[in-house]
Structure formats: C-alpha cells, structure tokens
C-alpha cells in the first residue's frame, strides 16, 4: 500500500568508483571556473563580439531551466490535481528542481561580466526586457523552491538537532525555530506550490521570447513569434521524462527496486503532451512556410531534423506504446530521447540558429567552457547524492511493511 512507503534518508557509502570519477570531472570544471573569475571571460571562453552567448547561456541556463521542469509538473500533478499515487515522485523532483535552478543561477553568475551586480535586476527594472522577466521569475522561483524544501528539513531535524561543541547550546532554539516553521509552513504551503507552477509557466515561456528580439539574426527554422508557446510546451513534455529518468537512475545507483508501477502510470501523460508539442511545432512550420529550408542540406536543416525526429517523433511513438511503458529499459530510452530532444532544441535555438552578420568564424565552445558545463552537471549529481543520503527524499518501505513488498534494499 502506498502509505507504507515513507521518504527516508538513504544509507549507503558515499564514495564509489563512479562517484570518484564524477568528482574528478567536477574538480576540473572548478579549475576552469576559477580561471574565468581571475582572468576574465575572454581567457576561458571562445565568445567574441559576434557571439556574445555560448553554451553557458544556451546549455547551462536555457537547458538547465527546461530540464528542471520536472519540479513544477510533478508538483502540479501531485499537489494541485491531488493524484496521491505520484506523491513518492514529488520530493526527488523537487530536489532536482531546487538544485537545477541553483546551478542555473550559478551559471548566470559565471557568464555575466559583472557578476557582483547580479542583484541589479531586483532594483533596476526594465519591463520591456524578456531577460528581465526571466531573471526575476527565476530568482523568485528559486526562493519558492527553497521554501517548498523546508518541510523536508524540519521533518529531518525536529527533535534531532545536535550541534557539535559550543554550538550545542543553540540546540533548543534551533529546534523550536524548526517546530515553528513546521507549523506555519503547513498552513501556507499551498500558496507557494501554486506560485511555483505559475512562475514556472511564465519564465519557461519567456525563455523562448528571449531570442525573438534577435530578429533576422536567427535562422527562420527557429525564429517564430510563437517561440514562447513552443518553449512552454517542450518544458511540459520534458518534465515527466526527467522524473522517470532520474528515478530509474537513482534506484539503480542505490541498488533499489525501481518504482515501476508509478513510473509506468506517469508515462501515460507524456505521449499526449509530446503530441501537442509536435503539432504546434509542425503547424508553426507550415504557417510560416519555413519547411522550405529543410530541402537544403545545411547544418541548421540537419540539426532541426535530428531535433524533431530523434527528440520528438520517435519518443512520441514509444510513449504511445503500452509495451514500452511497461518495460524499464523502454521507459529509460524513451525518456532519454525526450530529454535529448529538448537539450538539442535549446542548443539549436541559442547556438545553431543564431547567425549574426559580419562573422568571420562560427562559434565553437572552448575546452574551458565545456569543462565548466560538464563540471557543473557533475557537481549537481554529487550534491544530489549527498542530499538524498541526508534528507528523507526517496521513498522506502517502512520497516513493518518490509516483508515482501516491491521494494528491497540490496547491499548496504
């Protein structure tokens, strides 16, 4: 029965060979990150006067935000539509969103030239700027995510505050603060949950508005006034696949049995959403008659075709098939394809489609840029692992129900 499962901190060894490998990658990224702050953007990146935005904006920020969509989509399904069955997925998705947006914010700080002015948009408002909207929404949503996470912190530490050494005098006070938070938050949490969904819809779509102002500089295959809608729909469609992929990955990594029933039933939603996205995308292409560009063999036409076929059409077909939804491998592959498709889409919109006048060479990310990007992903995985071991995120069977349920902990 569902409620016999309870989010529990995972007991497991932190360092395994693959975790050590990931740590090394994270470290390399941090070295390049330090170089960027000491010697300036030009020292580490291949950005120039024609290509002001590279993968730190196109991948780390734009894709990061899209892939964190699991947070608000699951919150909407579980909390707003009250599908309790999906309760077990909300906490991992919330954590991913929280960490995802934190790293988005870090990437912004890394990319902007005057990072110490990152707070300026809070007091200097330009309501005409799509970037301003994205910036404000992301900042507010990030705070909302931390608030939504607070109950998990209180749950973990109420009655268990045990500060070391001289700090132990504070134990009582901290505990009562936690208890107070727990009581008040409970009453108001619905305000933040709805706000989180609204904010997400707003900035997910505004992320699409961002490139519209580039006008003729953007390839017609992607430049369209409905970009905000396309971005919103693609964020919707990648939300659940991200949750599925993560759930399968972490159960594998911790040696747990995958929550297949829940995931299979969640995966029913993906096909129809992908279908709506595909329809919008193709409809737009026919209204603007941009399909003519697909008849020539160019980098944009190839990239566009890959994005649509591999990233939308094939996974759409897979998610519509019952046997794929029943199989762990099928689910995993189909989800990965959707994720790949959205990553590709953001990359195409921000990097491939952008073709400014007067360029001599095209932009290709430097080793440093790539290392920082991969390093951030690695770091995020490491923090995620630490969090699920400290906080009750992943649902495990409570002891009494351990007997012969679908969950079993192997090893540790």
């Amino acid at each position: 029965m569902e409620h016999e499962f309870q989010p529990t901190p995972i007991k497991h060894k932190y360092f395994t060979p693959s975790v050590i490998f990931i740590s090394v990658i994270a470290l390399i990224g941090l070295v390049f990150l330090a170089l960027r702050f000491i010697f300036g953007l030009g020292f580490v990146t291949n950005l120039n006067q024609y290509f002001p935005w590279g993968i730190w904006i196109g991948l780390d920020v734009a894709t990061g935000v899209a892939l964190a969509a699991g947070g608000f989509t699951t919150a909407a399904l579980g909390h707003i539509w009250h599908r309790d069955k999906y309760e077990v997925l909300i906490r991992p998705a919330l954590l991913t969103a929280m960490l995802g947006y934190t790293f988005v914010a870090l990437s912004v700080v890394t990319d902007i030239g005057r990072w110490y002015y990152v707070w300026h948009p809070l007091v200097m408002w330009n309501g005409n700027s799509a970037l301003f909207e994205v910036g404000i929404c992301v900042m507010v949503y990030l705070s909302v995510l931390y608030i939504e996470f607070l109950p998990i912190v209180t749950e973990r530490f109420i009655g268990r505050v045990n500060l070391p050494g001289i700090l132990s005098g504070l134990n009582k006070i901290v505990d009562s603060i936690l208890r107070f938070l727990d009581r008040t938050l409970n009453k108001f949490m619905f305000v933040f949950i709805i706000a989180g969904v609204v904010l997400s819809c707003l900035h997910q779509s505004s992320l699409g508005t961002l490139m519209i102002i580039a006008g003729e500089k953007m390839h017609p295959l992607w430049q369209t006034p409905v970009l905000p809608l396309l971005f919103l729909l693609s964020a919707f469609s990648v939300g659940f696949p991200m949750v599925i992929m993560e759930s399968l990955t972490s159960s594998k990594s911790f040696g747990l049995k995958p929550e297949k029933d829940v995931l299979t039933s969640l995966s029913r939603f993906v096909g129809p959403i992908l279908g709506i996205y595909l329809a919008a995308k193709i409809g737009d292409m026919f209204i603007r008659e941009s399909f003519v560009y697909l008849t020539e063999l160019t980098l944009p036409s190839i990239m566009f075709t890959i994005e649509i076929v591999l990233g939308v059409i094939i996974p759409l077909r897979m998610f519509l098939s019952a046997s794929v939804r029943q199989s762990t491998t099928g689910l995993y592959i189909a989800s990965m394809l959707v994720i790949f498709g959205v990553v590709f889409n953001r990359f195409n919109n921000y990097i491939i489609a952008y073709n400014p006048p007067y360029t001599e060479t095209s932009y290709f990310p430097s080793i440093g840029e790539i290392s920082v990007t991969i390093g951030f992903v690695a770091l995020e995985i490491l923090v995620y692992r630490a969090f699920v071991m400290i906080f009750p995120i992943i649902s495990l069977p409570v002891k009494s129900a351990l007997r012969k349920t679908k969950y079993a902990i192997k090893g540790a």
Binding site: G40, G113, R114, N126, S129, L131, L202, I213
Partner: protein
C-alpha cells in the same frame, strides 16, 4: 493603442517597482517616458563624398580618451584591405568599397552605432542600462550594466562590443553620439574634424530633406535610397550611396522596429499581471476542487 498599453504597463510596473524598492514613484514615472523627441538630432553620411582619410576615427578616440596615435598614421591605406568593425578601442571605423560607376573615387563607409529610434538594445537590456535620449543619442550607463551581453544579441547592426579580457568592470562599448560634447553645444568629434563634410550633423527631419534633395538633384550620383530612414523603424544616422546597401555590408532589415514583436509578446503574457493572476486563480480552484473530491471519496 499598443503604444498606449505599453506606457500604461510601464507605469504600473514602475509604481509596483517603486513600492517594492522604496524609490519615490514620481521619479520612476518620469523615467519611463521615452517618446521620441520631435527635434532629435541625427547625422547624414554621404559615402560618395567621404575620402577615407579616417580623421573621424582619430577624433573619436581622442574625444573618448582612447589612445589614438598620431594623426599621420591614419593615412595608411592598407587597413582598407580587410573589412573592420567597431571595437572596444574604436567606436567608429571606415571601410572602403569599389564605386562601380566611377572606379577612381571609391565609396568609403563610416560605421558606428546607428542610434535607432526604437533601439533593440534599449528594449533588451535587463536593467535598463541603455537609454534613448531626447537628442536621439542611445547611451549606455556603466553603473547599472551587469555584463549579460543581451544588448549584443539584440542589436540588429551588431554594434555594442564587450571587454572580454577584463575580469572586473568589463564595459560595453559603442559610439555614444558624443553626448558629452553635444550637451555643451559642440559637434560630435567625428563630424567636427571631417575635412570634406561627408558627415552632416543636424535635426533628423532636416537631414531627411537634405538627403532627398541630393538624390533628386544628382540622380546619377546616388541610388534612390536613404539607408536608416525606415530601417528597423528609423535610425538617427542615415546614409547615401551609389551602390546597393547590402553590397556595402549593411544588413538587410525590415521597417518594423526590432523590439516590436518581443515587446508585444512580453506585454501580452503580462498585461497588467492579469494572465498570471488568472492562472494562479485557476490552479487554486483546481487544487480546491480536487482536494474536496478526495476527502469525499475517502469519507465513503
């Protein structure tokens, strides 16, 4: 209608912003006015008159405290072999093109920020560091800029440049229409130094008349087009030439202001905060209904 909405939106936003940030609302409302000033200034560049002496490049640097070198070194014509673009240390550059009808006097094209009437950079800048002044000048305020480089993504003429090599206080650079000089009644440095009056400073509407007259009087000397008259909704700097402008590396642009589409989408999504609030209410309703349904089912 759209224009009106936009102003109202800005006002609402300004007032909300003011309450949040504690700035007096009056001040913000005054700032949000950005109507085009009837008497705004401009420059007419006649590429058929320009002799490519590059004195303007030197004067521009000198006026902006950029190391400029001796004036004589600018006589070196080898720089014309490669097309150059405005850069951090040169807000204006002159490029040379062949004059098809008169090969002996080539076309020399001075390039700098166009000071658009509806500037994409102003619309795009996340913190409003760019602004369009009454004089027509589009200027950048370094004390606000966060260095996000969205202005560079937005500018249809690819003008603003960024100091990538600086780790602290990198600037966005571009021609500022010599705002400090013109405030004091001086001519822009480049205009003042030009020995052949290839660049004329004046009220934009007068310059358009001048340009039209020249085309009418010398139909052989010019093609019938004033570049910048209507491009992206009009620019303060305008050009005459006797070759098609795209052959002179001017981007081919429509007549619609560059920020038009994105601003109307942006304001559509946000119109008086109605759509977000409506969505909030809708989701709240769904939450309430589904919760009640749940508890009823449980009660059964």
């Amino acid at each position: 209608m759209g224009e009106l909405n936009r102003r109202n939106f800005l006002k609402t936003l300004g007032v909300v912003g003011a309450t949040v940030s504690g700035i007096p609302a009056k001040k913000l409302l005054a700032q949000s006015k950005s109507e085009l000033f009837e008497d705004r200034m401009g420059v007419l560049v006649d590429t058929t008159v320009c002799i490519g002496c590059r004195r303007c490049e030197w004067a521009c640097k000198t006026a902006h405290d950029i190391p400029a070198g001796d004036l004589e070194s600018y006589d070196d014509e080898s720089v014309f072999e490669k097309m150059r673009r405005p850069a951090n240390e040169s807000y204006t550059v002159v490029n040379r093109y062949e004059n098809l009808s008169n090969p002996k006097s080539p076309l020399n094209v001075k390039v700098q920020c166009m000071h658009c009437d509806h500037p994409a950079c102003v619309s795009a800048c996340i913190v409003g560091a760019f602004s369009k002044k009454e004089s027509g000048a589009v200027v950048w305020d370094g004390s606000m800029c966060i260095g996000c480089r969205y202005c560079m993504v937005a500018c249809p003429f690819q003008v603003p440049t960024f100091e990538y090599e600086k780790a602290i206080q990198p600037n966005i650079n571009k021609c500022d229409f010599c705002i400090e000089r013109t405030k004091g009644g001086l001519l822009p440095a480049c205009v003042e130094i030009c020995p052949v009056e290839a660049i004329t400073y004046g009220k934009r509407r007068n310059l358009i008349e001048t340009a039209e007259k020249r085309i009418e009087l010398y139909p052989d000397r010019y093609i019938n087009k004033i570049y910048g008259f209507t491009e992206v909704g009009g620019t303060s700097w305008m050009y005459l030439a006797n070759r098609e402008f795209n052959e002179l590396d001017f981007p081919k642009l429509g007549d619609k202001p560059a920020p038009g589409v994105s601003e109307s989408i942006q304001h559509g999504i946000f119109a008086y905060f109605v759509p977000p609030i409506a969505l909030y209410a809708l989701l709240g309703g769904i939450m309430w209904v589904s919760k009640n349904k749940d508890s009823k089912e449980e009660g059964k």
